[in-house]
């Protein structure tokens, strides 16, 4: 990871794009911008940024679709910029694979904090490994394998799995996970956790609809178990 993170900002409104570019640049990021989803996908292939800040309302293919297309090949973090905090927007955005979302009018500082938090998720911290059934988590290499095969996890999914694996068999509440993984304040949106758990289960569980590894603890949150 480079010392100065490079971002791709996809936003159709000129004023917002310019202002956010200005603000983020001042926070110390390298920012590339695109006005449409198509341009954004092209720039993504050319520049390989560390993170994408993506507006939902775009002309042509919308932010959700861009998000889905990126997720087909890439696991880089995506932060959605939504003009509406309407629940359906957030839910659709999280389902299409976004790691986090920020509601407009967004404060540059908040966005910067979110960006840094997302980027931190990919950082290494320990040199050990743990295995849960056929699932092996290598904290040194920051890789996860299942039956010997590498799993493609986003930094957020990886971080969630790491936090759960650090306390095996112990239930973590959604608010705890929001603080640990997303570094959100006390007002984290629990749907972020639920959506991420759902995506993670699709990748690590044998049968995602009847999970044996990441279990729901009713009324509390989630727990990582070693399968019997």
């Amino acid at each position: 990871m480079t010392s100065v993170p490079s971002l791709l900002l996809i936003e159709d409104d000129d004023a917002i794009r310019t202002a956010l570019e200005l603000s983020l640049t001042r926070q110390g990021h390298r920012v590339a911008t695109a006005a449409t989803g198509e341009d954004g996908l092209k720039l993504l292939r050319e520049q390989r940024p560390d993170l994408i800040v993506l507006d939902v309302m775009l002309p042509g293919i919308d932010g959700f679709e861009v998000c889905r297309r990126i997720r087909r090949t890439d696991q880089l973090p995506i932060i959605l910029l939504t003009a509406r905090s309407d629940d359906i927007d957030v839910v659709v955005g999280l389902e299409s694979g976004a790691d986090d979302y920020v509601v407009k009018p967004v404060q540059g500082r908040v966005l910067d904090a979110r960006i840094r938090a997302v980027l931190r998720r990919g950082e290494r911290e320990a040199n050990d490994a743990a295995s849960f059934g056929s699932l092996v988590i290598d904290r040194a290499a920051m890789t996860v394998t299942k039956n010997g095969e590498d799993l493609q996890l986003t930094p957020t999914e990886l971080r969630l799995l790491l936090e759960l694996s650090r306390r095996p068999g112990q239930a973590l509440s959604r608010q705890q996970l929001l603080r640990l993984v997303w570094e959100h304040d006390y007002l984290g949106d629990s749907r972020l956790v639920d959506a991420c758990v759902q995506r993670l289960r699709a990748k690590v569980e044998d049968v995602p609809s009847s999970p044996t590894l990441i279990r729901t603890v009713r009324g509390v949150g989630y727990r990582l178990d070693t399968p019997q």
Binding site: A19, S173, Q175, D185, D194, Q198, P208, R215, G219
Partner: protein, 525 residues
């Protein structure tokens, strides 16, 4: 449940209808009574006249026949008797007279040679002198002066009497120029029987007419009342808000006219209401769209003002001191505008009914502490809450409610603000109490109104005017309630009651279900 409810309502309506039908003032009863009265009057007067005329005709005919027969017999038999007949002759004559076709009894009275009064009787039991009314005897025996108009000194007289419940005709005459006096007694029983049966028939006819009229009145009432009932039902449905209620119009009478009028009225009403709600919807959408549109420029402005703010705070002093106040103003007002737009968005979401709960299990004390901490109110707020009270609520909305309640208390009441949390019957009761002057009585009912300011002179920087209204809406969406009052010890108290589990209020039942991996196991929670 609604089925049973409907049935109950239907039954109650039927009972009411029956009671209304029995009520004296009901149209149906009045119609029946009037019809019956008319029928009764007509039938009784017709039968009365018919009976009277018949009676006279029957009696007169029977009487005339008997009397003329009696007169004839008197002339033929009694006048042929010698002046002083014997008892036997008299008896014989009486028997002969009585054997006429008219079946009457005859009593002949005369003086015999010795001047003794003798009586000849056709049937000893049937007639005696005692049965003849004295007034008739007097009239028969009274000699009248002869004039041009009266050629005979004696006349035939008659009278009707009732003896042993049997009507009789009694007639009497005297043979002119010294003959016997004769009386006849004829039973009018056959005639009375005829008349009786006539009266019975007429009575039965009257009764039938009464029944018929009642039935007719019932039918007439039904034809009138059925449309009236339908109209009443339709009006009730209209009143319940079913504005598409229409009546089927049939016929051309006044009730059809009324139905047509009703339909026109309902149509106009429906159109007007649709119009009004469309206009309301349009204005609501306008506010929603407007706040949306405001967000785009605001996002750009907000991002840039932060840059300006950093310049202001920088030690380098790169901002011209002359324009520094202007920049500060822009920064602070942009923040205010942000809040206002945020609140407007929130309000429009509530108005449009699109506000949804995002539930999570949280520790209430932790949440409130975090809320106070995040706004740097820890010094001004005295929190009395035990950790460990877990509730299933929307943490963001709880934060909005608490921030608005505490912020309002700090603004209007002043510190220290006391916040207490306790449990009461599986509900959470959070009290926010300030130590200010309290809320004036005339303001109290309006504290939750949008843009309501207690006094016009209050500086405008005190808030968007939407805070408490949003807090209340947020409480309602949780199934909770906020009330405002003044504490007897002084200061305003806002009491916020909140159910411990708001999940029954969310539709779909669990918001996590949309995205949550755990929904499969938690969905029914």
């Amino acid at each position: 449940m609604s089925d049973a409810h409907d049935r109950l309502r239907g039954w109650a309506a039927a009972k009411k209808a029956i009671l209304a039908g029995l009520r004296f003032t009901s149209l149906r009863l009045r119609l029946v009574v009037v019809f019956a009265l008319v029928a009764l009057t007509a039938a009784v007067s017709a039968s009365g006249i018919a009976y009277w005329l018949n009676r006279e005709a029957v009696l007169t005919r029977a009487q005339d026949a008997a009397l003329s027969d009696f007169q004839q017999e008197m002339q033929n038999r009694a006048a042929a008797l010698p002046e002083h007949p014997t008892q036997g002759e008299l008896q014989h004559a009486a028997n002969l007279m009585a054997s006429s076709s008219q079946h009457f009894s005859v009593l002949l009275i005369s003086d015999d040679k010795d001047g003794r009064r003798i009586a000849g009787n056709s049937d000893l039991d049937a007639i005696t002198l005692a049965e003849v009314p004295s007034s008739l005897r007097d009239a028969v025996n009274r000699e009248q002066p002869l004039t041009d108009g009266n050629k005979h000194p004696y006349h035939l007289y008659w009278q009707r009497i009732v003896s042993n419940d049997t009507p009789y005709l009694v007639g009497g005459a005297r043979v002119i120029d010294g003959g016997p006096t004769g009386y006849m007694l004829k039973s009018l029983e056959p005639e009375a029987k005829d008349l009786n049966s006539l009266a019975w028939s007429l009575g039965i006819a009257t009764a039938l007419a009464l029944i018929g009229s009642a039935l007719l009145a019932q039918a007439a009432a039904t034809t009138v009342l059925k449309p009236v009932h339908r109209l009443g039902r339709a009006a009730r449905r209209l009143g319940e808000g079913k504005l598409d209620t229409r009546l089927r119009v049939s016929g051309t009478d006044e009730l059809a006219d009324l139905s047509r009028t009703f339909n026109r009225t309902a149509e106009n009403l429906e159109k007007k209401v649709a119009d009004m709600s469309a206009r309301e919807e349009a204005s609501r959408r306008f506010v929603a769209d407007m706040s949306h549109e405001l967000r785009t420029p605001l996002t750009a402005i907000t991002a840039v003002t932060e840059v300006l703010e950093e310049e202001l705070d920088a030690e380098t002093g790169s901002v011209d001191p002359m324009i520094e106040p202007a920049v500060r103003l822009v920064v602070s007002e942009t923040r205010r505008l942000n809040d206002l737009v945020e609140n407007l968005m929130e309000v429009t979401r509530f108005d449009a009914g699109t506000a949804r709960l995002v539930l999570d299990h949280v520790d209430i004390a932790d949440q409130i502490t975090a809320c106070i901490d995040a706004r740097a109110w820890l010094d001004a707020v005295d929190l009395d809450a035990e950790r460990g009270i877990m509730a299933r609520i929307d943490p963001r909305r709880l934060d909005v409610i608490m921030a608005n309640l505490i912020g309002n208390a700090l603004k209007h009441g002043g510190s220290p603000v006391r916040v207490s949390v306790r449990l009461a019957d599986s509900a959470l009761v959070i009290e926010v109490r300030d130590h200010g002057p309290g809320i004036p009585q005339d303001v109290l009912p309006h504290v939750f109104d949008r843009f309501y300011k207690a006094s016009a002179s209050r500086p405008r920087s005190e808030g968007s005017g939407l805070g408490l209204s949003i807090a209340l809406e947020n409480a309602h969406i949780h199934g909770g309630e906020i009330t405002a009052a003044n504490s007897p010890e002084g200061g305003a108290v806002f009491t916020f009651r909140l159910p411990l589990d708001a999940s029954p209020l969310t539709l779909p039942p669990d918001d996590e279900g949309a995205v949550g991996g755990g929904s499969g196991e938690e969905g029914g929670a």
